[in-house]
Amino acid sequence: MSILKRMLLKPFGKSKPGPQNCGLSDVSLTVYKGEIIGIIGRNGSGKSTLLRTMAGIYKPDNGWVGIDGQISLLAGVGVGMNKDLTGRENIHLYGSMLGNEREVMDSMTDEIIAFSELEEFIDEPLRTYSSGMKARLGISVATAVKPDILLIDEVLGVGDPGFKKRSQQRIREMMDDSNTVVLVSHSFSLLKEICSRMIMMEKGKMKCIGTPEEVIAAYHEAEG
């Protein structure tokens, strides 16, 4: 390859993992319909990268990601929402970002508002909301539409205890409806309670996969 060609094409090719970019390698995983899978690992181990690769945000340098059904990623509370729009307007904005049509959002709005318990504030601009309220709104939208596959990145622990419980309840309902959930969390008690399988990531690789008890034990063992 000529020097010029190398200079021009190399930057668009394979990326090198850095502190902010944990590259994945040799990850092979099948998630079956109706499963709830938890991903654990230390910071920078590649949990979020794996989730984003599943969501189609990162394109693997090698390998392949395939899905069957509508996929939604719930990550970063309030990402894409606008602080000057009202809660109601943000329901439509965020809902459309998750791939939903106007008709779906129109029919779901009341239920989303009720679930978030933000009836009093729903026509106020988002800038007047606390971070907990924004998170409640975000989770209410993302889980109301019931995508076939829901990916959640460390946002289930938001809100007051009552809301947390209801969020977990909704995830369970999704499981009963045969929806598929993959979630990243540091809350082992939550994962143990709702997951059917768990994965432990380490340095961009899948260290182990198994029942929640097995994987959590392996994590504690690795941590010493």
């Binding site: 930057p11 668009f12 090719g13 990326s15 970019n21 092979s28 995983l29 099948t30 984003r52 969501a55 189609g56 945000i57 990162y58 394109k59 693997p60 392949w64 990601v65 395939g66 899905i67 069957d68 996929i71 990623l73 990550a75 970063g76 990402v79 894409g80 606008n82 000057d84 729009l85 307007e89 439509h92 904005l93 459309s96 970002m97 791939g99 939903n100 049509e101 106007r102 690789k205 899948m206 260290k207 182990c208 996969i209 198994g210 029942t211 097995e214 994987v215 392996a218």
Partner: protein, 294 residues
């Protein structure tokens, strides 16, 4: 405990799973982008609303600024050229204003598209929707703003006794040409800007310098008059692909048809089409690959 391998059956790909990153043939990229935009039109509409809201909602006069800004500019041009400099051509301030609106549309779309991936990196890393939606929503926001700004031309037309004629068709066509040229050119280098952030600086400079070599403060007719109709400099000046659309904008409200050489017209029409095709092909092939560098 299971080990870390959970390999799917080899034939699973072909059975029911959809590849998240299917290979798009280069030549179908321009159509694929349009298909994605059409599929996500509700999202696009919401994002345009969000962009407009972000720009004007905190201002006391809100959306009125889309009209006030060009109106105040027009006032400045009028005072400068008609009252102080005593120009004979009373339509000159209006022609400058049309140039400013048209050129502003081109420059804003170009610059926002060049930095579309870097400017939206936070959202891109959290949402899996098509990457062209970010630049398309920003470009359409600018198109809406520029279209509203054009309303400030109406008082000028009254003042100059210009009645709307059939030549007004050139106005939307010219704006569309500017829109497509800027968006296509921006898409061509948006991925490169992730790897080499200098690209955005270069384009910002180009659009600043381009202001002077585009018919904003001057007109095509002044160029012909000064250089002579047969001058080779005319062909050089016409290499600038926005000379034709900006001139069309000016003539559309004057009720006249500009007299261009046929090959200048062909070039001006072909430019946005070619640039859009190239831009979509390059963007589709490279944009998803550079996301991990954001």
């Amino acid at each position: 405990m299971g080990d870390a391998s959970n390999t799917p059956p080899a034939d699973e790909r072909s059975q029911s799973l959809k590849d998240l990153h299917p290979k798009v043939p280069m030549l179908s990229s321009p159509f694929q982008i349009q298909k994605n935009l059409s599929k996500n039109r509700y999202l696009l509409k919401n994002m345009v609303n969000r962009n407009l809201n972000q720009r004007y909602n905190n201002a006391l006069l809100g959306y009125l600024w889309t009209l006030l800004e060009p109106a105040l500019l027009a006032l400045v041009y009028y005072v400068l050229f008609v009252i102080i400099a005593d120009y004979e051509d009373k339509s000159y301030p209006m022609l400058i204003l049309l140039g400013v609106i048209g050129y502003g549309l081109f420059a804003r779309i170009l610059n926002s598209t060049v930095s579309t991936l870097t400017a939206n990196s936070g959202m891109i890393k959290q949402s899996g929707f098509s990457l062209e939606i970010y630049s398309a929503s920003e470009s359409r926001t600018n198109l809406v703003i520029s279209s509203i700004s054009l309303l400030t031309i109406i008082p000028f037309m009254f003042y100059l006794g210009l009645e709307p004629t059939s030549t007004l068709w050139m106005l939307p066509v010219a704006m569309f040409m500017l829109y497509v040229s800027a968006w296509g050119a921006g898409l061509m280098v948006a991925s490169a800007n992730v790897v080499f952030p200098d690209v955005a600086h270069v384009f910002r400079f180009i659009t600043r310098a381009g202001f002077f070599v585009s018919p904003v403060m001057w007109t095509y007719e002044i160029l012909i008059e000064r250089a002579g109709a047969d001058s080779p400099y005319i062909d050089i000046a016409m290499l600038n692909p926005i000379v034709v659309p900006l001139t069309m904008m000016k003539h559309s409200v004057q009720g006249t048809i500009p007299e261009f050489a046929l090959y200048h017209i062909i070039y001006a029409v072909a430019f946005p089409i070619i640039v859009y095709f190239l831009g979509s092909m390059i963007f589709t092939a490279t944009s998803r690959g550079v996301v991990k560098r954001l």
